[in-house]
Symmetry: C2
Amino acid sequence: MPTKKLINDPADVIEEMLEGILAAHPNHLKQLPESRRSIVAVDGPRPGKVGLVIGGGSGHEPTFLGFVGKGLADAAAIGNVFASPPPDPILECAKAASGGTGVLFMYGNYAGDVMNFDMAAEMAAMDDIDVRTVLSTDDVAIEDKARRRGVAGNFFIFKAAGAACDKMLSFDDCERIARKANDHTFTMGVALAPCSLPQTLKPNFELGPDEMEVGMGIHGEPGVFRGPMQTADAVTDQLLDRILAEMQPARGDKVAVLVNSLGATPLMELYLINRRVKQRLDDLGIAIHRTWVGNYCTSMEMAGMSITLHHLDGELTEMLEHPCDCAMFRAG
Amino acid sequence: MPTKKLINDPADVIEEMLEGILAAHPNHLKQLPESRRSIVAVDGPRPGKVGLVIGGGSGHEPTFLGFVGKGLADAAAIGNVFASPPPDPILECAKAASGGTGVLFMYGNYAGDVMNFDMAAEMAAMDDIDVRTVLSTDDVAIEDKARRRGVAGNFFIFKAAGAACDKMLSFDDCERIARKANDHTFTMGVALAPCSLPQTLKPNFELGPDEMEVGMGIHGEPGVFRGPMQTADAVTDQLLDRILAEMQPARGDKVAVLVNSLGATPLMELYLINRRVKQRLDDLGIAIHRTWVGNYCTSMEMAGMSITLHHLDGELTEMLEHPCDCAMFRAG
């Protein structure tokens, strides 16, 4: 069955979405006049602060624009649906975010993004902007760590880095904290039904009427297991087993939790899943510092969800609690 | 095609959802020990403050629990999916919310809710709690004002009332402001695809693969027009034409805007719709005070959206800006 979308000309979805976002959030976001795909924080860069530039394909809202604001990212480069932004808007973001002490590039580990952000970093170097890159790789569905993707865990990873930058820490410390946040963040998801691209309105993958796919990526990349639908508790256990095997928590450890909808899965189901997350963590003697539940990293109208655990230490807790002010959600 | 849901025993969805909500938001919400369907704010009622009790069927999350917190509602009574809570949990909410100066009952105008909240009000009177009721009736899809339903505009209506209560205004003033907020709030929606009830997993209405229904209610109640899908701009214009005809704004007037997803419609489409809302209001010389875009009053995984305009005057602006602290979203 084709997806219905409330859009106008499919060729205009991104420009029109950005127009609507800027209309809604004039106190938080502005567009660079000469680079419409570069969105910067109104209260953004300041002298001496390490700049934070994030970005990637559209279709994951509120990722990435939702993370732009005081105490978080200074700028986001916006690609087409599920496609990396080209180097130019990334470069313009770097210039806008630069406070003279270096700029961090942070984005999910996808080949197209790596290519374009790396090219923008080289261009920035010619403008005497020192860029360092920290990829997010929180999707533990993939065995090979080098191939892991960045998914909903960006929430915690960007938050930690944004706080470090906002606290005026050194470039070395900002980079170190960003890498630590990524190493301490573990996500796994399940897909129940596809989304469709605005241009085609065709589903981006096929799943049977009673099937789910565990570990599927946020663009429909293959997961680790396809099978019949299971109960919320059974699915949650599968995801948590993999996450906990990677995280290796000890009794008394502390985590932050994100239960994220891929788009169409409603809060009722997410909260029901959070109930099981709490039970499992309680059983293991792991303390929950704080929990977020909602649509944070979506694939347009895809049905499904992901669970993220952010393994806290004192420093990461401090970063998480540092205030931030973003348009589309609150954190910290 | 049956809907897939991440649930356990369908008979347990509400209890398990509430458990997950309380696990996620211990700093905002607590359950009355003797009445599990009565959820009250941790920072709730205080002596001399008019109490605010809201409630209704589940399946609309973050409505109603998302509105419980300091500066907004003191308590919410929680029904089964799309079904009114019975009188007992409403009564317990009234007792918990009572600060000795009266309790406002506010909820959408649905027959089942009216019956049960009225019964609870009578029971509260026997406990010497003075209850007054203000129904929300913001859905302008219905011609007859007495039959209008309460839908996403609850966001602004409850917000105004909650602020009045939090400011320790008199019972008369709290009631007057609540009524004014309702009279100044206008919503209209469009449905693209149904949701299903956990017990049956069957769609709650049928729409053809290229059809939409304008004015459909949040439980699938019939709308005013069913026809082929149209562009986002055309749909937005239809909804706004009806809303503006009711609201009768003058040039220079001020509104707050809510573009709300019914569940599965993603932010990309909502923001694109908000672009058109801004264009239309700009053309009419109506100032936008502030805009919210997201999932605020849903029908589980229903696809579609609604637009709400809250016609501001000085007093309603003050209520909207009054701080509040709720678990599931921020306002004011």
